[in-house]
């Protein structure tokens, strides 16, 4: 019993980590007033670069960083369109959701001899206890032997929370998302803050994608990122645009994904058709949004392009 609970926890954490990175990305971008519906696309490109760089360099950390950077660069396109040119943020985000997978597939065919998937990464992200766990007979250590990305995402969440609520930068970021005109009259550079927030949002989403290909699986295919970006976005809303709330929401959605694995195993006592099971995370997302997001309070100027002097 204890072992299966521990197993459930570790699988939940494994599946939650990519969602958490992306969710935190959503939090920072939306707190600065930019709706980032393109998280899905940024995760996809991050997942590809994570796998590709991880494969060619043989270093998972290099892959992880490359994934983040590629997500950040893609996010800059969103920033240029939605901040500088005041494009509709939803449309710009949707465009990224096409560009991300398209670019990943194109590069994959170029780099991996026409294949739509990358070759498996030889060295994935290491686990906390590494090979020590394999030798150990302690079930606790075996079960707690989760990937390093999990503690990293929790550290990121704490840092983001601290920055948003305890520092002058956070005060400025949130003021830009709530009332950019007020921030502007106080000499705060609204555009710079928005750009920075969107870039960081892309980097975090890219980390999320890379976590998927370097810690959860060890290769990239077209279906590696299938809706995680949107689930993360739902988690941002469910978590009331706050880092800690979003983390909790991501854990819930991660748990739903873990259930798919746990209940879908062939040795499971209850046999549920796998296609029904795979719906679980998405259905849960939908239900949570319908039930709990009535009194949600988005940043007031979220999604509204800021035009100086209006």
């Amino acid at each position: 019993m204890l072992v299966s609970i521990l197993l459930a926890v570790s699988i939940t954490l494994m599946y939650s980590a990519p969602l958490m990175f992306a969710g935190l990305g959503g939090v920072i971008s939306e707190n600065a007033g930019v709706v980032n519906i393109g998280i899905e696309g940024m995760m996809t490109i991050g997942a590809f670069f994570g796998a590709a760089v991880g494969y060619f360099s043989g270093n998972p950390w290099l892959g992880f960083l490359a994934g983040g950077l590629s997500g950040g660069l893609l996010a800059l396109a969103h920033a240029v369109a939605s901040i500088s040119f005041r494009a509709d943020q939803t449309i710009s985000g949707v465009a990224l959701n096409f560009i991300g997978p398209g670019l990943a597939l194109f590069l994959s065919r170029k780099l991996f001899a026409g294949s739509a998937m990358t070759k498996p990464v030889e060295h994935p992200i290491p686990t906390i206890f590494g090979s020590y766990a394999a030798k150990s007979s302690n079930v606790l250590i075996k079960a707690a032997n989760i990937e390093m990305t999990v503690p990293i995402v929790f550290i990121c969440a704490f840092v983001l929370w601290f920055v948003l609520y305890k520092t002058s930068w956070g005060l400025r970021i949130r003021s830009v998302g709530e009332n950019p005109a007020a921030a502007d009259t106080l000499g705060i550079n609204v555009y710079r803050i928005k750009y920075l927030a969107v870039f960081v949002s892309g980097v975090l989403s890219g980390f999320g994608g890379a976590t998927m290909t370097l810690a959860v699986m060890n290769y990239f295919t077209q279906s590696t990122i299938s809706g995680q970006g949107f689930i993360a976005l739902a988690a941002v809303i469910f978590g009331k645009w706050k880092p800690h709330g979003t983390m909790a929401a991501c854990l819930l959605f991660g748990f739903a994904q873990a259930l798919v694995v746990l209940l879908g195993g062939s040795n499971s006592k209850i046999q549920i058709p796998s296609s029904l099971l795979s719906m679980l995370p998405y259905v849960l997302t939908l239900i949570s949004l319908v039930l709990f997001v009535r009194h949600s309070s988005a940043p007031k100027a979220d999604g509204i392009p800021y035009v100086k002097g209006h």
Partner: protein
């Protein structure tokens, strides 16, 4: 050199163009150090544009700006802030879900180690400043929970926190009660005693007389004069502002109201969030009478108007005209029974901005036989009716029947609405903020139209946030507070201060 030093601000022949439109045409402004200087002009005269130039939000096309005798190029607000100029905008620039302290320090945070906020030290500074100048605020309250008057004090504190010496206040009294206005005038005095210079932008004459030492008048972007406020009357200021003689108070005779035409009994209305906004309200309007409802925005006015016009359902109570119940029927039924309405927001509810003026003039009557038969519009009749209305109500430009309503100025748009709403001689005209955002000339016109309608034996229910308007136009005055009529007076029984106190929820004392 010495004489120049006495001026905190000098703006010399400032020009500012927006495309072809000349917003500022050789405007001069000299503000003495330590004085309260009013900037007077109608809407669109260029007051705010001039101040935006001074604050660096707009760049002048030519002209010089001197701050304390030194020429400065105002490239952006940061230059203005460097020269200790602060501006309190008409629409407050506050972050609603931040506390007072957070709003004040935003952009100039007090912090430890360079980036970790030090709220307690910032709080101390805010408390100190608020004591020095008598600006009472609750430092830990969130902006969304405090009154408009306190929000304004936060804005002033924001400027003081940044060490301003020259403070620009844009229409500071538009949202305040008479008591809050007096408090603001006291604060302004405290500030000038502390050596600060204040420029106040306004089109309200009474407040200039009350607060300012000097007044510069601009009209259609042109500099008219700078006067010593002591030596001029409100009437003279008004004439200089408008460019012709105006009547600040429209003449009207006493009426002898007839029977009760319209009545509301124990009306209760909830808003969309199921909160009661109108609470067991009763009132009546008699034939040939103007009843004014005084009150601060947000005390149930909106819900009351929506209930009368059947735009919302009432929870309990009756609304009736000539004995016919109207509550919970339809807007069409309300109009059919002789009630027409001037809504608060002329763009949202008053006009179809992208329709020509002539169609806007028949929005309510388009299906009358004279305008339409068998679903076909009689274009000629409509056009003729529009021409008549345009000349009767002096809507400008005079050939605007086929122009889009959007192209008219605010005052002329409002005249279109009045022309339409009065065209069928309604039994009761419901006028909600009928002069919102209009200047003295247009206000005069609209007030006299209201009084003319009354004199022809009809009734008017006037709901306004402008106490002056209520005082000048009404025959009977009701004070609305928190969804209830808390007091009722005949014209002349009470002065502004008495009503102001009741509007703010004060107790009714003997003698008022």
């Amino acid at each position: 050199m010495q004489s120049q030093q006495a001026y905190a601000v000098e703006m010399q022949s400032i020009y500012k163009y927006f495309d072809d439109f000349c917003a500022l045409n050789a405007v001069n402004l000299k503000v003495k150090k330590g004085s309260i200087h009013a900037l007077l002009g109608e809407n669109g005269a260029g007051k705010t544009t001039l101040m935006n130039v001074l604050y660096g939000l707009y760049k002048a096309d030519s002209g010089r700006i001197l701050i304390n005798g030194e020429q400065v190029e105002m490239k952006n607000p940061n230059v203005a802030i460097e020269h200790k100029i602060g501006m309190v905008h008409q629409h407050f620039k506050l972050v609603e879900n931040f506390t007072v302290v957070q709003n004040i320090m935003l952009g100039k945070e007090v912090s430890k180690a360079g980036f970790v906020l030090d709220i307690s030290r910032a709080r101390k500074q805010v408390v100190e400043l608020s004591k020095t100048y008598g600006l009472t605020v609750d430092p830990d309250a969130k902006i969304e929970d405090i009154s408009v008057g306190m929000q304004q004090r936060v804005e002033i504190l924001k400027a003081l926190y940044r060490g301003v010496e020259i403070l620009i206040l844009d229409e500071p009294t538009a949202v305040l009660t008479p008591q809050e206005i007096n408090e603001l005038v006291n604060i302004m005095r405290n500030l000038t005693e502390g050596g600060k210079t204040i420029i106040i932008i306004t089109h309200k004459l009474k407040e200039i007389k009350k607060s300012s030492e000097y007044c510069t008048i601009i009209r259609r972007g042109k500099y008219i004069d700078t006067v010593d406020v002591k030596n001029v009357t409100e009437q003279q200021l008004a004439s200089m502002m408008v460019g012709r003689e105006v009547n600040l108070v429209v003449a009207k005779t006493k009426t002898n109201p007839g029977d009760v035409v319209f009545r509301i009994d124990n009306l209760t209305v909830e808003d969309s969030r199921k909160i009661e906004r109108v609470k067991e309200l009763s009132l009546s309007v008699r034939k040939g009478e103007i009843v004014g409802i005084a009150g601060i925005d947000g005390n149930g006015q909106k819900e009351l108007v929506e209930a009368i016009t059947c735009l919302t359902k009432v929870k309990a109570g009756r609304i009736s005209i000539n004995g016919v119940d109207l509550q919970n029927t339809s807007p069409h039924n309300v109009i059919k029974n002789g009630i027409t309405t001037i809504h608060e927001d002329r763009h949202k509810r008053g006009l179809v901005l992208d329709f020509p003026v002539k169609y806007n003039l028949i929005l309510e009557n388009y299906n009358r036989p004279r305008f339409a038969g068998h679903a076909i519009l009689h274009e000629q009749a409509i056009h003729k009716f529009a021409q008549d209305s345009i000349s009767r109500y002096d809507i400008r430009p005079e050939n605007c029947a086929s122009e889009l309503a959007r192209a008219l100025s605010g005052g002329n748009q409002q005249k279109v609405i009045i022309a339409r709403e009065l065209s069928d001689n309604p039994e009761l005209l419901l006028a909600f903020q009928p002069t919102r955002g209009l200047d003295v000339g247009a206000i005069e016109f609209i007030h006299s139209a209201l009084i003319k309608h009354r004199d022809s034996g009809h009734s008017i229910l006037l709901i306004s946030f402008e106490l002056d308007e209520i005082m000048n136009v009404s025959d009977r005055i009701c004070v609305l507070y928190d969804g209830r009529i808390v007091a009722e007076f005949q014209q002349g029984e009470v002065d502004e201060n008495g009503i102001g106190l009741l509007m703010a929820g004060g107790e009714r004392k003997n003698g008022i």
